[in-house]
């Protein structure tokens, strides 16, 4: 596997080292180090105020870092002003120049690098057809719909064929239907052009669908960087587990480990839980067992599930495609458990107050440090 070694030594496209940004006395970005590989769809995910937009704005050059360096393509760009960086940005508000036509908006960046007229017009035409608004070139921004404006903003940011495209909540202003459609178009565009996309979003679903990698941020720090799938299946912290999808957490203490089986004694769960985990653990260490609601199932006769418990159904949320059941255990802990609604208008098999038994396999749950 020489290949891997070579790749590891290769400079990543974006290299962020010990980056901090202080506003007043608060750290918006707090000592972040991060590598972003070329040709990917990279998401900065987090709730509002986590520093993701500040990080993006430092990449674009709008904010000067308080500490740390940013390298793009091996070159230190930390002190470069925005107009000297080969990075373009699509703004959350789109920031279309209201006094210029769509075509002039797209040509603006090309004019700044003094591209000659014929080539410029050609590029503008290409960009218009790339985002499928060929006929709107002569319009002014106020004559466009929200979706069209989003496309113009995208075309304008892509026109200079930057190495990296930064997108600040690119779908935030669109309605739900348009958003789903545009998600796929953005991914297709990224694959076709081979430009690295770095997206800021607060929407975990959006990040999951579009990204090849996600950096989850919290209070100016990076919580976890992973592929969407690993982020969901193997969250490394309670925060990550809670932020993406639903999760049940049981606090407990490690009682023994044999092979890849860890036994956890949890009062909340009302007994021992068995988790498949290969890293060595210290006995007596406090730990949390995490299990996703859809990994839980109802125990049937003859089932051999290592983790089992009984509880009473307290609440049912009908979501259409599935239902979520809140089941109260003897310890008072509530467990969320989902079941797909296979039959239309079938009499619900489960009702409030009913006692049911739930269980899951040892390899369907994970351990999180407390």
């Amino acid at each position: 596997m020489n290949n891997v070694v070579a790749n590891a030594e290769q400079e990543p496209l974006v290299r962020i080292r010990n980056l901090s940004k202080v506003f007043g006395s608060t750290y918006a970005v707090d000592n972040i180090s991060l590598d972003i590989e070329e040709k990917g769809f990279f998401s900065l995910l987090g709730s509002s105020g986590c520093g993701k937009t500040t990080l993006l704005r430092m990449l674009a050059g709008f904010e000067t870092p308080t500490e740390g360096r940013i390298f793009i393509d091996g070159k230190d760009v930390t002190d470069l002003p925005p107009y000297e960086r080969q990075v373009n940005m699509m703004f959350q508000s789109y920031a279309l120049f209201p006094h210029m036509t769509v075509a002039d908006n797209i040509a603006y960046g090309l004019k700044q690098e003094r591209m000659a007229r014929p080539g410029r017009d050609e590029r503008v035409r290409e960009m218009l057809s790339l985002v499928q608004i060929e006929k709107l070139g002569h319009r002014k921004p106020h004559q466009l719909s929200g979706g069209q404006r989003q496309r113009v903003a995208l075309a304008r940011a892509l026109a200079k064929l930057p190495k990296i495209l930064l997108l600040d909540e690119p779908l935030g202003a669109l309605d739900r239907k348009l958003r789903e459609q545009t998600q796929f178009e953005l991914v297709n565009l990224q694959e076709r052009l081979g430009i690295t996309f770095i997206v800021v979003t607060h929407d975990q679903e959006e990040a999951m669908t579009m990204s090849s990698r996600i950096a989850l941020m919290r209070e100016g720090r990076i919580e976890q960087v992973d592929s969407p799938q690993r982020m969901y299946e193997f969250p490394q912290s309670r925060y990550a587990a809670n932020f993406i999808g639903n999760v049940n957490l049981f606090d407990g203490v490690v009682t023994s480990q044999s092979g890849d089986q860890v036994l956890v004694d949890s009062e909340e769960a009302g007994g021992q839980l068995c988790v498949r985990h290969s890293q060595p653990m210290t006995v007596g260490m406090p730990i949390t067992v995490a299990v996703r609601p859809e990994k839980i199932r109802m125990v049937q006769a003859g089932d051999d599930l290592p983790n089992q418990m009984q509880g009473v159904i307290r609440e049912i949320a009908y979501l259409g495609d599935e239902s979520i059941y809140h089941v109260e255990l003897a310890s008072g802990k509530r467990v969320k458990y989902t079941q797909p609604n296979v039959q239309a208008l079938a009499e619900l098999p489960l009702t409030w107050g009913q006692t049911i038994a739930l269980g899951w396999h040892a390899d369907r749950c994970g351990l999180l440090a407390q």
Partner: protein, 317 residues
Amino acid sequence: MTGYGGGAGALAGLRARWRRLTVGRWLVTGIPWLWLVIFFCLPFLFILKISLSEPALAQPPYLNWIRETADGLVSIVVNFGNYGLLWDDSLYVSALFGSLQVAAISTLLCLLIGYPMAYAIARAPTHLRMPLLMLVILPFWTSFLIRIYAWMGILNTNGILNNFLLWLGVIEQPLEIMHTSLAVYIGVTYAYLPFMILPLYATLSRLDPVLLEAAADLGARPAKQFLTITWPQSVPGVIAGAMLVFIPVMGEFVIPDLLGGPDSLMLGKLMWTEFFNNRDWPVASALAAVLLVVLIIPFLLLRHYESRAEANGEEAA
């Protein structure tokens, strides 16, 4: 990480670039700032200086602080006599109170007329608001002097108003309005009304009408709604408008000069007389200094409520 940094030369280039940027910023800020310091702030020092000089029959009509005495000595003479004069002579004190009275009463009149107008405009259908507001601002664009002059024609003993009232038979004898305090009140209220309406409109139009519906829903009658919901929220606008009227009226010269009579003594008029007719620059300067001091508190009030209104606006946006 050192391997990634540019050479020393590149670093110097960067520094130069950033310096250029800040030089641009300094120019943008510095040019208007310097202009204001020289032509707006600095002159106050000269007012202070002249107000502490002795008047003289000369050109310019005051003596310098620093002068050479007959025996070749240089002496500095600071004269507080002008302020003493202001304090001792009842003329100046009563002019100060006259100004305060006119400013206060006409501010109140502007509020009484302006509040319902601003409220009505703010409650008008959206497409009518701009035109209605334009109608308030329009007179402001025509000459101030000429608008005051218009009242001379109306209020004269044989003016339009008296002719009209005589013709109606309401009065037997023409009313003596011209050259009285009443004429000054009318003129000031007329000239400064737009300054009251604009900030009032700004706060009242921002008021969410749903709040009144909520109050009504909770059982408040219209009068109560106004007193408990509308009025408290419009206070910043009321104070801003009041100060925009009060402060300039304190130094008003044209209106008392053209419409007022001997009983309407005001600081602005007195300053003008001292300066142009009596050529007593030191006393005129002392009067200006006193007026400035009197106006500091209303000005700070205005700044406070304007910035508060701005903050509210930003929150709303």
